[in-house]
Amino acid sequence: MNAPLRKAEAAPGLDEALVEVRNLTVDFLGGRKPVRAVGGVDFDLRAGDALALLGESGSGKSVTLRALMRLLPEARTRIGGQLRVDGHDVLGLGRRALAAYRGGTVAMIFQDPGLALDPVYRIGDQIAEAVVRHEGVSHAKGRARALELFERVHIPSPARRLDAFPHEMSGGMRQRAMIALALACRPKLLLADEPTTALDATVQIQILLLLRELQRDLGLAVIFVTHDVGVAVQVADRVAVMYGGHLVEVGSSGEVIGAPAHPYTRGLLASRITPESPKGIRLATIPGSPPDLSDPPPGCPFEPRCALAIPGCRDGLPTRVPVAPGHAARCIRIGEAA
């Protein structure tokens, strides 16, 4: 995982990472003490792959996603480390390059389509505008692309729906329209910040299937932030578990969910209710609460709550310990006779 960063000019080949995140740190300033929301995150993502960032509130998953798109308020945030997406040094992009990067290389969808769609413009025109802006084509060409995109995301009667305003659409339709808008300029990486959390389960599964289809058909790389293990498994082949601003465990979804190695992942999975949970049992819980990120613990972020903690856990952040091929966790107690 310590591969040297490549030079910007070469387009990434098949085996090379589309996204390289190295020691990403994000500090929020402006409060009494800076808050270290992301404490040094590393991961790679190849073109066309899907990764789920799984974590609870305050784990840093959304902040990591926003850093990739440079959406964090610059005056109040300090970002450290290196972010490279499709050859772009994301943290070094100037204003114009950033505008082309957003939408052209990376696009984002949100939990609330209201954040992405302008309520006073017809949706077809919003998509057309993005296409005109990025590709310099005529408005008519932009509208044609919008129609194509509406068909792509399976919006029924797409031609008629292009003239709809966002409020005239149902929740699931708005979510599809937002995905169409995100795809308008043919991005290579789609960032999804809990896009299905507010939807009914019956609609959520439709959107998850759509995202998988787009990933497969368009070769789109996807980073999907969620707090829901089931959603992570449905949409991604690899899962990265975040806790206290760190990636504590990364691996294939089958490995991480089926054979979790980190005590936090184990605790999180054990507290879930499954169709097999016997009724009336006491649910397992993780004692305590997540760390105060304005005063993070010196060592493993989970140490204060961990049943397996030993004094050595306070001596700095644990390194990544391989568990199985492609599966690693930051815990010094892995490998000991458990």
Binding site: D200, T202, V203, I205, R282, T285, S289
Partner: protein
Amino acid sequence: MSGTAEPTRGAAPPAGGTDPRDRGGPAQPLLAVDGLVKHFASKGGLFGKGPVVRAVDGVDFAIAKGETLGVVGESGCGKSTTARLLMQINRPDRGDIVFDGELLGSRALDLKSYRRQVQMVFQDSYASLNPRLTVEESVAFGPRAHGLSGSAALARAHDLLRRVGLEPRRFGGRYPHEISGGQRQRVNIARALALEPRLLILDEAVSALDKSVEAQVLNLLADLKREFGLTYMFISHDLNVVRFMSDRVMVMYLGRIAEIGPADAILAAPRHPYTAALLASQPSTDPDARLDEAPLTGDPPNPINPPPGCRFHTRCRFAAEVCRTREPALDPVAPAHFAACHMAVPGSGHPDAPQLPMAA
């Protein structure tokens, strides 16, 4: 983490012996609802009223003493409106609410004494608390309004905060924005219990919480139910949680009951295709059990203009001619298990319905 608790299923009598407020004994439902209807006038254009939203459109059910009734359904199915009608936040257009044998609004049961016995916890833990009151003031507010002295109300608040796992000396003086979402929901639960209610309506009360916090709050709800002999109406979109918490489950669709019956039976072998589709839509955590096709297409239809016949027929893969024309009644399909589906009723005219026994 502690040992296995006593199962909380069944309409077991409250642990503290018989409740002095109990009137009809264990066989009489704590709450019975008959013909509940609520239509909202939606905003029209410039002139006059718009169409009517049929939020709750004729609902009958009962909740036994000590049981937990789970309620599931998509948005717009009427589950939250039903809860708000029970709580009398909105007044029903039609229908009777009978609480332990007494009709709400009759001389025997006025609104104030009913509300003391029925309390509700909402999804949004922050919006449900007054930001200008400390936690202990919020919990003590109800008892004081119902006539307890200030010091007695505060003592009760402290006692309840302790019961929900919040040390009163540490948390009592804090404001809602100074505590976490899970802690706020504990405060809301303490406040709901402050009037010693018998029925607690939990409307997506754990849905906004992180999973590890949700488990803590569900454990707490199980403890409180046993300790105070409570009855729960548990509304949630998470079918796994509903199955785990509930003795019976009620499935709603577009303002009507689609299916109601024992939780295990309904979720193991649903008799209404809508229940089956809801179940199949829950994302599985098994990577080998990923879905390739959505169980239902499209969004839930609008309750402004529910389809004729069976309301589900527009999305039902089994829909036949009879489904488009005749609305199925909520008929028994097994002991204590009812479904409103033509396929479940012999002789309904649906090709997949069981055959009527032939006359010899």
